[in-house]
């Protein structure tokens, strides 16, 4: 028996099984995490049914948010699990908070009424209740639910159309009066001056302002009239609704993003709504302090920042890799540069961040401000975080990745081609330009892709060099100079951190964070798969290049 055991132990099967278990556990964790994000992220946009729960003291209507069980000790000292439901009841202006926890045992009845409606609004979050009547100007509709729902849909379309037209008019109005208000500001600045020449300038400006005013007054009145008309019209388009516990209120349809009756929708309708919400997620701006709407500015900011970073890092990295492989003499310099690359790769990302803050922002940015923007001081232009400094900081951070990947690409170029070119009389640079660079392209691209993937995911250095929770405008727009390098921007990774940990309503925001995390992961995984594919193609080339 002892012999059998020791033989068995020597053979080592248990240890082999043990290593296998380590692998399964590791893979299991990865799969588990990805699944959690997938389910919670994708599940958020599926329109969920509205549950009406009758409790002894009140009727609740809302989306089922979470189901857990609380552990309590009962009279005999045993632990019992009490199942609980968390319901999102919305109606923040009525109840104060969006969520309630209900004891399942107390629920006397559960229903899914067909007429229960979900209203997604621009402010105050969702409303869950029943439509009692629809008002469109002078006409009121208050017959059966289906009829009211359709009328409400029409009214909503009209209200939204009015809203967007109103917005267009407001923009036009703004553009109209901008030159006038700029003049007026100059006038007020000049008014405190007392010298004679300034007085003459002041009079001239005042004349110009008066002129301008008369010019635009007609158009101004016309536009403000239109805006007023639309506002009044929208004030007359609303629904009277009632919550599950009998509280009545009015919802103006212009304030509603969308509304639907989930219990009455079939699979197809729900899928259509799901896709439209998914699309809104990618293309729209955030609403409700980042708990609803979309993450478009974050996507845009991430892409723009990564683009700027690539412009900075790729040339630098390629040059460095070229130097290492083609130009440097063997010995100390090469060892030093490789040592530097290795250490640069190991430096924690926050150290890059603080370097970016202290050096790029305060030192370089501060100097730029003093030389070029001294009239705006003490308000900093480049002396504060912005997309330029953030991109440069990340460029430093991802530099080692690009260098290493480019080196792999350069090494894959067959020596025969390189030496042949030199033998035929090409200068070193001609050889690099015509032979190495084209053939090393896969390596360079791999480096670029890995750098992009890193840049999309790194948050710590960005937090302190120019990312914000809500950017008032994009860094790239239609106003000269079009690319505003000094603007702050939004970033997908930071969005996850900020919304998940620093928003006032974390419970409501969590699902959006999962979806954002899913988006980020998908982006990063796709990029990495692309890089792996490129690298495999490179390896194949390398295999055939042995000479």
């Amino acid at each position: 028996m002892a012999d059998r055991i020791s033989y068995f132990r020597q053979k080592g099967d248990p240890y082999i099984l043990g290593t296998g278990m380590a692998l399964i556990l590791t893979l299991g964790m990865v799969i588990f995490i990805v699944t959690v994000i997938l389910v919670k992220g994708l599940g958020f946009f599926w329109p969920s049914d509205l549950l009406q729960a009758d409790l002894p003291d009140r009727i609740y209507l809302g989306e089922v948010w979470d189901e857990t069980s609380k552990r309590q000790t009962d009279r005999n000292g045993h632990i019992i699990e009490i199942p609980e439901i968390q319901l999102k009841v919305g109606n923040r202006e009525l109840y104060g908070s969006d969520f309630v926890w209900l004891d399942e045992a107390e629920v006397s009845q559960r229903k899914y009424p067909l007429a229960a409606s979900t209203f997604e609004r621009y402010e105050f979050g969702n409303f869950y209740g029943y439509i009692r009547s629809v008002q469109m100007g002078d006409s009121v509709y208050s017959q059966e639910p289906k009829f009211m729902f359709d009328r409400a849909k029409d009214a909503h379309d009209i209200a939204l159309e009015n809203r967007s037209r109103k917005r267009a008019f407001e923009e036009e109005l703004n553009e109209l009066i901008t030159p006038l208000s700029r003049l007026q500001r100059e006038i007020s600045l000049l008014e405190i001056e007392t010298s004679a020449e300034k007085q003459a300038e002041l009079d001239e400006l005042k004349q110009k302002a008066a002129h301008l005013e008369t010019e635009i007054s007609e158009k101004y009145l016309e536009l403000s009239d239109e805006i007023q008309k639309l506002t009044r019209e929208n004030e007359g388009i609303f629904v009277r609704v009632e919550s599950a516990d009998g509280k009545k209120t009015v919802i103006h349809l212009a304030d509603v993003v969308r509304f639907y009756q989930p219990n009455d929708m079939n699979l197809f309708q729900k899928s259509v709504l799901y896709i439209s919400k998914l699309w809104e997620f990618i293309s729209a701006n955030p609403r409700e302090s980042n708990t609803e709407g979309g993450v478009f500015p974050a996507i845009f900011g991430t892409v723009l920042m990564v683009l700027l970073m690539s412009i900075a890092v790729v040339p630098f990295g390629v040059l460095a890799a070229l130097y290492l492989n083609e130009y440097a003499k063997q010995g100390t310099i090469i060892r030093l540069i490789r040592l530097s690359v290795n250490n640069l790769a190991g430096v924690p990302s926050i150290v890059f961040g603080i370097f970016g803050l202290g050096f790029f922002i305060y030192m370089v940015g501060g100097t730029i401000d003093q030389v070029f923007f001294s009239d705006k001081l003490p308000e900093p232009t480049f002396g504060t975080g912005g997309i330029l400094w953030a991109s440069l900081t990340l460029a430093l951070l991802t530099l080692p990745v690009v260098v290493v990947a480019t080196e792999e690409g350069i090494l894959a170029v067959p020596r025969a081609n390189k030496e042949g070119a030199l033998a035929l009389g090409a200068t070193r640079w001609q050889m690099v330009r015509k032979i190495i660079l084209p053939n090393a392209m896969p390596g360079i691209l791999t480096g670029l892709i890995l750098a992009i993937s890193r840049g999309a995911g790194e948050v710590a250095p960005l937090m302190i060099t120019g990312v914000v929770k809500l950017a008032p405008s994009l860094a790239l727009d239609g106003v000269f100079p079009f690319l505003h390098l000094d603007r702050k921007f939004m970033h997908l990774g930071f969005h996850i951190y900020d919304v998940g940990f620093q928003s006032p309503n974390v419970e409501a925001a969590k699902p959006m964070v999962y979806t954002t995390a899913l988006l980020l992961i998908l982006l990063v995984i796709c990029l990495n798969l692309l890089a792996i594919y490129m690298r495999n193609r490179l390896r194949k080339k390398y295999k055939t290049a042995v000479f």
Binding site: G20, A22, I333, F355, T427, V513
Partner: protein, 739 residues
């Protein structure tokens, strides 16, 4: 023609070649420049922490050399105007630039009346009380405010009398000299005066401007036989400290102005107390005695829950009696001046005498520190006034306060504390790096014990035992795991796993405990199957057998967790931990962080170990197997040693990554800077500290530079780890790869 063209072409090509070489070299050297630049910048920003305090004499004014003694001096916040008040009540304002007198005022005094003592009563205003030879106490205020004309700044000095009263009400004609005087003008606008007159009587008068009648106390009997040598009120007038010629201190509690009482008294020195002062914050009491001893005491709560003053810091003493202590209005710096005219500049929390100097051979009549604590005014016995620039940017930081235990105000013993900012201006910054370094190491420790076994064992399996097709899919999967942004991992850890672990803590522990047991059981069953049947399972498919083991463990654990919890832990594991181990369970704790950080680090260790293991020459493994060793024996005795270099490098790299990781520790710990090894609470790591504090730190201030110092330490840590991994990895590789 053609030849000339060719020549031009050739020249262009050569020029392009040279230019290219130049630019490409810049690219290459640029890498070195980058990393050296980062290092130098970090050092450059943190070095000023170690700069010595220095003073530089700026202006010197010879005051009119009459025998009138100067009792008070002061300087404005821009250091343009100084004033002197002499014993005859004449106030002179001098503009330092041209040493001209810009204004003169006078305190209304009687013919032969002279000012005996003058004392300031507020850190933010030049409001002071004067005691005269005829028993008057006059309270006055000087203002030196800036006015702006045509973008130029001019300081306008002004003077007004706030209050005055006579200290004696008896009808005797004998004049009571006011000998010792202390004054406080508190935030809520109350006036407090404490004084002794030449008969030795100790008085305390409190005036609320909204009331007509002040409170007047005669506290002489509390002092007993002793004689008052010094007295001081703190800035918010909650304490009155009396020092005697016998070296004893008396503490009067003034928190209730209607009920002032003697709270405590104790012997502080063998010699007469000659100087007393409270530092900003009203906690630290600085004491100087006749032999030049200089100490600071502050109130500490002892085991009996009483508050007593304890001697906390001893400073390098003076040779002669300490006559004045001047306190900085900004921080815990104070100037101690002795009889012979020697001046020490000290900082309380670091117990450091930063500077000793002497103005001249004379003693010092009056001294002041500027409002921004960047200048000093001294008037010496020869009636010469000198102003100095005080360069003392970071007095709070020394190696000892960064790395040693410090006794802070409000604590009963020296501790390691990190608390960089507080609610008020008189907050004492506590900048010890030890809690942060400890936090980083704690997180790394828990991450490593989770990730190293899993990663290395998995790497062994993939490189040695698994079928080739499996290896080819697993490697990219793990690479993708490496690419997962740490934000996402941190977010999941903080918002999903923390509550999950807290809910199912028992299940988790049981799983970890049962897995080896069920595993052993599985192995035992496996062994029972006759060898021939076992061989049916192709080598490398053992994986399949492992999956059911894990599933069975989970199922068993899921069902027994509730009964186990109620049986072993009285129904509540968290409560049990608190009662028997004395620790509270934080939702965001080190177990969660270890898991998350470990998850982030596993791919790194796995990839590099796997590479190293795969690169062991097949000749070695084949030889071992051919000689009859089992697969495992080969791995243990041949492959592992050969790959040890790579595995070591992998672990080191993972270690470096775990130390520098920011987002995960930011989101999954509670970010509390505590020194506790328990896995049930959180910590604050160096990287997370930088991320959280640098946006709020004033540029160039002490906290800002300390954060750069922390970044420098992180840089050095990772540099050392990288170098170690390279050196030792190489050495191990050389040792074991003989083929």
């Amino acid at each position: 023609m053609k030849k000339a063209e060719k020549k031009i072409f050739r020249k262009k090509v050569d020029r392009a070649n040279k230019l290219a070489r130049y630019i490409i070299s810049i690219g290459g050297y640029g890498i070195i420049v980058s990393i050296v630049g980062i290092l130098l910048f970090l050092i450059y920003q943190s070095l000023p922490l170690g700069f010595q305090t220095s003073i530089e004499k700026l202006f010197s004014i010879d005051l009119p050399s009459r025998s009138a003694r100067i009792v008070l001096t002061g300087i404005d916040q821009y250091q343009e105007i100084v004033y002197t008040l002499n014993e005859n009540g004449i106030i002179s304002f001098y503009r330092l630039e041209d040493k001209q007198v810009v204004r003169r005022d006078s305190v209304p005094l009687a013919e032969t009346e002279k000012i005996l003592t003058a004392t300031k009563g507020n850190l933010n205003r030049e409001i002071f009380a004067l005691g005269t030879t005829q028993g008057q106490i006059i309270t006055a205020e000087i203002r030196m405010l800036p006015e702006y004309h045509q973008n130029e700044r001019i300081i306008k000095p002004s003077f007004r009398i706030v209050d005055s009263f006579v200290t004696h009400t008896d009808s005797s004609l004998e004049m009571h000299h006011v000998e010792n005087l202390s004054f406080a003008f508190t935030e809520d606008g109350l006036f407090y005066w404490a004084w002794t007159d030449h008969t030795g009587t100790l008085f305390l008068q409190i005036q609320d401007p909204e009331e007509d009648q002040p409170f007047l106390y005669d506290l002489t009997e509390n002092i007993g036989e002793q004689q008052v040598s010094q007295l001081i009120l703190d800035f918010e007038a909650r304490k009155l400290i009396i020092g005697s010629y016998e070296g004893e201190l008396f503490w009067f509690d003034l928190s209730d102005i209607e009920d002032v009482y003697l709270k405590d008294n104790w012997k502080a020195s063998q010699h007469p107390i000659t100087a007393l002062a409270f530092l900003i914050g009203d906690n630290a009491l600085v004491i100087g005695d006749a032999q030049g001893m200089l100490e600071s005491w502050f109130p500490v709560r002892n085991e009996e829950n009483e508050i007593k003053f304890l001697p906390v810091y001893q400073f390098s003493g003076h040779n002669t009696a300490v006559t004045k202590i001047v306190v900085s209005p900004r921080n815990r710096t104070f100037m101690s001046i002795e009889e012979s005219g020697m001046i020490h500049l000290n900082y309380n929390t670091t117990q450091k005498t930063q500077l000793t100097f002497r103005k001249s051979d004379y003693a010092i009549q009056a001294a002041a520190i500027s409002p921004k604590s960047n200048g000093i005014v001294l008037v010496d016995g020869g009636n010469r006034l000198g102003t100095y620039i005080l360069d003392d940017e970071h007095p709070e930081v020394t190696l000892k306060t960064l790395f040693g235990k410090v006794w802070y105000e409000g604590y009963n013993q020296p501790e390691f504390v990190w608390q960089s900012t507080g609610g008020s201006d008189d907050f004492e910054p506590k900048l010890s790096l030890i809690p942060l370094i400890f936090g980083t190491l704690k997180g790394t420790f828990y991450a490593m014990i989770f990730s190293i076994p899993l990663a290395i064992l998995a790497a062994i399996y993939v490189s040695q035992f698994s079928p080739k097709w499996l290896a080819r899919t697993i490697k990219p999967t793990v690479e993708i795991m490496a690419a997962l942004p740490s934000v996402v991992i941190g977010f999941l850890a903080g918002l999903y796993f923390s509550p999950l672990f807290e809910e199912h803590l028992v299940t988790l522990f049981l799983f970890v405990a049962f897995l080896p047991l069920i595993f052993a059981l599985g192995v035992f069953i496996w062994r029972l199957i006759p060898e021939k049947k076992r061989m049916i399972m192709p080598l490398g498919w053992e994986l399949l057998y492992v999956i059911p083991i894990i599933l069975v463990t989970y199922v068993i654990v899921h069902f027994i967790s509730l009964p186990v919890e109620s049986w072993l832990f009285n129904g509540n594991l968290k409560q049990w931990i608190f009662e028997s181990l004395g620790q509270t369970y934080d939702q965001r704790n080190s177990i969660v962080v270890g898991f998350a950080l470990g998850f982030a680090v596993i791919p790194i260790i796995f990839t590099i170990s796997e590479d190293a293991l795969s690169n062991v020459p097949e000749s070695l493994t084949s030889a071992s197997l051919a000689l009859g060793a089992s697969r495992w024996q080969t791995v243990r005795k041949v492959v592992l040693p050969a790959a040890s270099g790579g595995i070591f490098a992998a672990v080191m790299l993972g270690f470096g990554r775990a130390i520098g990781e920011t987002m995960i520790v930011l989101m999954a710990t509670g970010n509390t800077p505590i020194l506790d090894i328990s896995p049930f609470n959180g910590f604050r790591a160096m990287s997370a500290c930088i991320a959280v504090e640098i946006p709020e730190a004033p540029v160039g201030g002490t906290l800002y530079r300390v954060l750069f110092l922390i970044a420098f330490l992180l840089f050095v840590f990772t540099f050392i780890i990288n170098s170690l991994s390279a050196i030792i990895g190489d050495r191990l590789r050389k040792k074991y790869s003989r083929f």
